[in-house]
Amino acid sequence: MNGRLCSSATAGILLVVLGSGGPGVISGQPPGNAGAAKPWSHGGIRHAGTQSGRASTASEAWFTDRAKEAGLDFVHFNGMSGELYISEIMGAGGALFDFDNDGDLDIYLVQGQTLGPGRILDDALVAPQASLPLTDRLYRNDLVVHADGTRTLRFTDVTKGSGLVGRSYGMGVAAGDFDNDGRVDLYRTALGPNQLFRNNGDGTFTDVSDRTRTSDPRWSVSASFVDIDRDGWLDLYVGNYLDHSVDERIRCYTRTGKRDYCGPRSYTPVPDRLYRNRRDGTFVDATAEAQVAREYGPALGVVAADFNADGWPDIYVANDGEPNLLWINQQNGRFRNTALLAGAALNGLGSAEGSMGVDAGDFDNDGDEDLFMTNLVGETNTLYVNDGSGLFEDRTARVGLGVPSLPYTGFGTAWFDFDNDGWLDLLVANGAVRILETLSRATDPFPLHERNQLFRNLGTGPFAGSPARPSTLRQAQGRPEPGRGTTSSGRPEPAEGRQPRWGAFEDVTARAGAVFELSEVSRGAAFGDVDNDGDVDVLVTNNNGPARLLINHVGQRNRWVGLRLVGGPERRDMLGARVGVFRNEGPPLWRRARADGSYASANDPRVLVGLGSATTVPRIRVVWPSGRAEDWTDVAVGRWITLTEGSGVGR
C-alpha cells in the first residue's frame, strides 16, 4: 500500500445520488435535476440489465445489437457515386453524451451527404436509407428503469429544432463543456469547416463556431477537449488529416490497374490545430505558440492523457502512414514531440503504420497510460506499453494482439473492461480502405466490409523485467526529475524492482455474439454505459450503414463501481481526472475520465471500474486536472456515484 494514501475510514464524503428508479438505480444526475423524471415510453425493448450479483445466463450473447429496437434508426450515407473519393470512406463517428443532464447517455450521430461537384442524391450508388433530410441526428435516451431493476431502453430522435445543423460533410465529433456552464457541448469535425455547438440547456444548440473562432476549415476527423494549462477550462485539440478536395482529379489504381481508393500518400497532410480557451466563451488559435504544428502528419486519432506522470496532460496523435506524435506538455503552454525516443512513433519494425483509432488506458494495472492503436490491413494493431515515465515498448506480438489484427483495417477502439474483471479489454471496429478483392469478385457495391473484433485481457501474462526508468524521458526533455513520491499525478511511484506484467489477450470475437458476425464498414466506436446497468456498452458507427448499439450482457457477472467526476461551479465532467480504485487485494485500478480517443467519436465521460469479485472498495482517490488529489473511503459498489471536486479529503 502506498504510504501517501489516507487510511482513515471516515475520510471523505461519499456522494451517492440515487435516481428515481428504485434501489440500485443510480442516475448520477446533479441534485437540481433529480426530480426531472422522464416520461415513460411504450414499446421499447426490455432486457435483463441488472445490478451486480444478478448475472445474466452464461449462454446469453455477451453483446447484442439493440439499435433498431431502441429506436436508433440512423443509417449513415456516404454519398459515393463511383468517383472513389477518399473522404467518402473515412466517416463517420458518434457521441455518447448526456446533453440533457438527466443522468443517461444520449447519442449524436454524424451524417455524410452527396459528394462531388454537382452531385445529387440520385447519383449515389447506394440510395440513402436514412430519413431525409440527411443531417446529423440527436437521439435522446428515454431509459426507464423498472422496479425490478430491468431496463427499457428507448431513444427518441430530437434533432428537429435542436439547432444541430451540419454545414459540411461530417466526419466526427468531440464532446466537452467548453464554457463551464454544466452542459456538454459538441465539436463537429468535417470535410470542410468544423463546427462548435454550444448546448443551451433546453434541448437546443447554437452554432458558435465563428464567434469562438474554432471553425477550422481543414479536413478534420478526431478532436479532443483537454485542459492543457490546467486552468479549469477545456481547450481543444483538432487532428487534421489531408489536403483533399473533391474538385481534384487524383486517381489511384491497384497493381492490376483497377481503380481503387487513394491512400494518404496521394495527398499532403495538414497541420493539427490547438485552440486555447480564453475563459470568455471564445478560443484563440494557439497552434504556433504551442508548437504543435512543428511536426505533423495525416492525423486520424487523438487522445489526451498524462503519459509521463508529471501531472500535466499530454496529447497523442495517430497519423495515417506517418510517424505518430506524442506531444509532451512542457507546462508552459508549449508541447514537444517525443514520440520517436519514447518509442511510440513507429512499430517494432521501425516503420510508420497506417494508424486510425487510438486509446490510452492502464491495461496492465501498473498505474500508467498504455497506448493501443488500430492500423491498416497487413500491419498489426499496435500496443505500446508505458514504463511509467512516458517511454513505451511495442509489445504487440508478445501479448497476442498482432496476428489476429493482420487481416483487418481497424478504426474505432477503446480500452474498456467489458466483463468487469478489473482488466481493460479491447474492441476494434474494422473496415477496409482499399477494395477487397474477394468481395469485389462477388460484385459487392461496397467491398470494404469486415468483422469487428473483441479481445479479452487475460491479465495473466508473464512478468517482465522492469524497464522502468522514470527519469529518462525527463532527462531527454531537459527537465529536472521531481522528487520521488512528489509527483502531482498522485499515482503510485514505481517501487524498486517493480515487475510490471504485460499481460496476454485472447481474441473472443467468436464468443461475443451474433453482432460480431456482421461484416460492415465500421468506423467510429463510442463506449459507455448506455443503460446505466454497470457495464460498458458500445455504439458502433458504420460507413454507409446503420449505427449499432451493442448492449453488454456479460459485465453484470462481476462487481463494479461507476464514477462521475465533476468539478467547477457548474459541476461539469472533469475530463482528464484520474481515479484510483483501491481494493483489498490486487493493485489499485487507475482509470481516467475521458471522452476522447477511439476514432471520430466521443465516449461516456464517466468512469466505470470493473472489480471482479471484490465486494468492497476501501478507498478511491481522484487526481483532478488541477493537480489536486482527494480521497473517498468505503465506497459502495454496484452503484453509479458522483464525486465532486472539493468534497473529498484533500492531500
Binding site: 481543414r218 481534384e248 504544428a293 478483392e437
Partner: protein, 556 residues
C-alpha cells in the same frame, strides 16, 4: 466481363486413373487438386487481363482430358505444376490471394519436391495474416532445402511477429552461418534480441546491420530502442535523428529474394512500372527510372502522374527541355493536375524565368488552393523579383495553411525589411523567435536588423550584441561573424568589429568564395572608418533575395 470462370480439376479423377493402370504404363494416382477460379478481370488493365488469360489458357491446355477412357497420355505433372505456379504468381501479385493459394497448393501437390510452392504459400499466408500456417510452409521448404537463405530469414521474421523471438533466433543464426552477413539477418536478429530485452545483443546485431546497409533507416528505430534500453539516450537520439523524413522505398532492409522479386515484377501494368520507377529513383538509378516510367506511359499514355514523374527524372538526368515537354503532356492529359504546374514552375524558376514560374505557381494554386509549397515558392519568387506586397499576401496564405512554417515567417519578415518596414519586421522576428526558440535564423536576422537598420527607432545595438553573442557560441558561420561585426560597430567597438569582419572574410576565402569576401570589404571599410553599418543585408544576400529552391521529389 469474365467472372467466376471455374476450373474444376481432379474431382473423382484419382480413382478413375488408378483403376486404368496398365503394365506398360504405370500411372500413379492422380492427386486431388483444388478447383481454381480466375478473379473478376473487369477493371484491370488490358495488359494484366491478357497475362492472366494467357496463364489460365496455358493451364487449361495441360489438363488431362476428362471422360475419356482409357486415358490417353497424361500431361507431365511437372508442366502442370509450373502452369499452376505461374498463374499463382500472377494472382498473388494481383492480390487475389485465395485463388493464388489454391494454385500454389495444386502446384505443390503435383510437384511435392519443389521448394518454390511452399515458399510462395508461406508468403500468401503472411499476406493473409495467417502466420502459423506460414511457419508450416516455410518449415516444409527447409525440409526440402535446409539452407534456403530467404526462407530462414522469413521464418525468423514470422516467429518474431508471432511473439516467439526465442524460436526466431536459432533459425536466424542458421541463416547467418550460411555465408556473408546480410543486413536482413542481423536486423531480424536484433529485433529478436530487442523483443527479449537483451539490449546489448540487439545493439550488436543492429549496429552491424546498419554498417552493412546504412541506407535502411528502418534499422535505426529498433537500434535506438536498444540503446534506450541500455540507458544511452544520446546514441538513441542520434539514431532517431537519422530517421526523420527518410521514409520511402530506400528505407527498407533488402535481401536477395529472387522468388519474391519475380512476383513483384510479374504484372505488366502501368502501376507496377511506376513502382519500379520509384524504386529505381530511390536508388538514384535515373536511367532505369526513366525506362520504367516510359514503359508505364506506353501502357497508359494518358497517365499524367507517370508523365510528371518522367519529367522529374529527366530533369535529374539533365534533360530539362525534355522534362518540360513531358510536363506539357502531363498537363494535356490532366489539366487539373496542380503538381504539374508546380513542377513546371520550379524548372522555369531554376532557369531564371521568374515571371513564367510565378504564373505556373499561381496556376497550381488555382487548382489546389491548399498547395502550401506552391504558395511558399510563389511568395519567395515574388519577393525575389520585388513584388513585395504580393509576396506578403502569399506568405500569409502559407501561414494560414501551416502556422508553424519557419520559411514563411522568415520570408514575410524579410519582405517587410525590403519594404523598409523595419519595425514590423522586428516584431515578426520577435514573434518567430517565441514560436521557434531553437531556430537560429530568427535571432540572427533580428540581431542584424537591430544592429544595422537605417531606422533609429528600430536599432538597439546592445540587444543585437546580446543576441549575436549567444548565437556565436554555436553558430560558427560567416553570416554570424558579419552580424557580430555589425553589432559591435553599432555599440562603438569598431576595433572588434574589424576583427570579426576580417574573420568572416578569411573564412569565405578559405571556403572558396573570394567574391563573397570581396563584397564584405565594403563593411570592413566602414568599420575602419569608425562608421556603423546601415545596410543589414546586401542586395545579393540570398536571405534578402532568395534563390530558387531545390527540385521537388517524385509523386506517388
Amino acid at each position: 466481363m469474365v467472372a467466376f470462370v471455374l476450373l474444376a480439376l481432379g474431382h473423382g479423377r484419382a480413382a478413375s486413373v488408378a483403376t486404368h493402370s496398365t503394365a506398360a504404363q504405370v500411372i500413379t494416382a492422380e492427386p486431388t487438386l483444388l478447383p481454381v477460379a480466375l478473379p473478376d478481370l473487369s477493371g484491370m488493365h488490358a495488359s494484366v487481363r491478357e497475362q492472366l488469360r494467357e496463364a489460365y489458357a496455358s493451364l487449361m491446355t495441360l489438363q488431362p482430358e476428362t471422360g475419356v477412357e482409357p486415358p490417353v497420355s497424361e500431361p507431365p505433372r511437372g508442366d502442370r505444376s509450373e502452369a499452376y505456379g505461374e498463374l499463382g504468381k500472377l494472382l498473388m501479385a494481383a492480390k487475389s490471394l485465395d485463388v493464388a493459394e489454391r494454385c500454389f497448393r495444386n502446384a505443390q501437390t503435383l510437384a511435392p519436391d519443389d521448394f518454390r510452392w511452399p515458399y510462395y504459400l508461406g508468403h500468401v499466408f503472411i499476406s493473409q495474416g495467417e502466420l502459423s500456417r506460414a511457419v508450416e510452409r516455410f518449415e516444409q521448404v527447409l525440409r526440402l532445402r535446409p539452407t534456403d537463405f530467404p526462407t530462414l530469414v522469413w521464418l525468423g521474421h514470422v516467429h518474431i511477429e508471432l511473439g516467439q523471438p526465442e524460436a526466431a533466433e536459432p533459425v536466424l543464426t542458421r541463416a547467418r552461418a550460411l555465408g556473408p552477413d546480410t543486413a536482413a539477418v542481423l536486423y531480424q536478429l536484433g529485433r529478436a534480441s530487442l523483443a527479449k530485452r537483451d539490449y546489448a545483443a540487439a545493439v550488436r546485431h543492429l549496429e552491424e546491420a546498419v554498417r552493412l546497409n546504412p541506407a535502411a533507416v528502418v534499422i535505426r528505430n529498433p537500434l535506438a530502442m536498444a540503446y534506450r534500453g541500455l540507458g544511452d539516450l544520446e546514441k538513441a537520439q542520434s539514431n532517431l535523428d537519422r530517421t526523420r523524413g527518410r521514409a520511402g522505398p530506400g528505407a527498407a532492409v533488402t535481401m536477395p529474394d529472387p522468388l519474391m522479386a519475380e512476383v513483384s515484377t510479374v504484372l505488366r501494368s502501368p502501376e507496377v512500372h511506376g513502382e519500379l520507377g520509384q524504386q529505381a529513383s530511390a536508388r538514384g538509378d535515373w536511367p532505369e527510372a526513366a525506362r520504367q516510367f516510359r514503359r508505364a506511359i506506353e501502357l497508359s499514355p494518358d497517365n499524367a502522374i507517370m508523365r510528371l514523374n518522367l519529367a522529374l527524372t529527366l530533369n535529374r538526368m539533365g534533360e530539362a527541355r525534355a522534362a518540360l515537354t513531358e510536363l506539357d503532356a502531363a498537363i494535356l492529359a490532366d489539366p487539373s493536375l496542380a503538381s504539374a504546374y508546380f513542377v513546371m514552375g520550379t524548372l522555369l524558376e531554376r532557369s531564371g524565368r521568374d515571371q513564367e514560374a510565378i504564373d505556373r505557381y499561381a496556376a497550381a494554386i488555382m487548382r489546389d488552393p491548399g498547395f502550401r509549397v506552391a504558395h511558399l515558392r510563389l511568395a519567395d519568387a515574388l519577393r525575389r523579383i520585388g513584388r513585395l506586397e504580393a509576396s506578403l499576401s502569399s506568405y500569409q496564405q502559407v501561414l494560414e495553411l501551416e502556422p508553424d512554417s519557419q520559411e514563411a515567417r522568415f520570408g514575410e519578415a524579410m519582405a517587410l525589411v525590403r519594404l523598409s518596414r523595419h519595425a514590423d519586421a522586428r516584431e515578426r522576428f520577435h514573434g518567430a523567435m517565441s514560436v521557434h526558440p531553437d531556430q537560429p535564423a530568427f535571432p540572427q536576422a533580428l540581431a542584424r536588423l537591430l544592429a544595422a537598420s537605417p531606422d533609429p527607432q528600430v536599432r538597439d545595438g546592445q540587444r543585437a550584441l546580446d543576441l549575436v553573442q549567444a548565437l556565436a557560441k554555436e553558430q560558427k558561420t560567416t553570416s554570424v561573424a558579419e552580424t557580430m561585426a555589425m553589432a559591435l560597430a553599432e555599440v562603438g567597438r569598431f576595433a572588434e568589429a574589424v576583427e570579426w569582419q576580417r574573420l568572416a572574410m578569411s573564412v569565405a576565402v578559405e571556403a572558396g568564395h573570394p567574391a563573397a569576401a570581396q563584397r564584405m570589404a565594403a563593411n570592413l571599410a566602414l568599420y575602419l572608418r569608425h562608421e556603423p553599418c546601415r545596410t543589414p543585408w546586401r542586395d545579393d544576400d540570398p536571405e534578402y533575395r532568395p534563390g530558387p529552391e531545390v527540385e521537388p521529389g517524385l509523386l506517388r
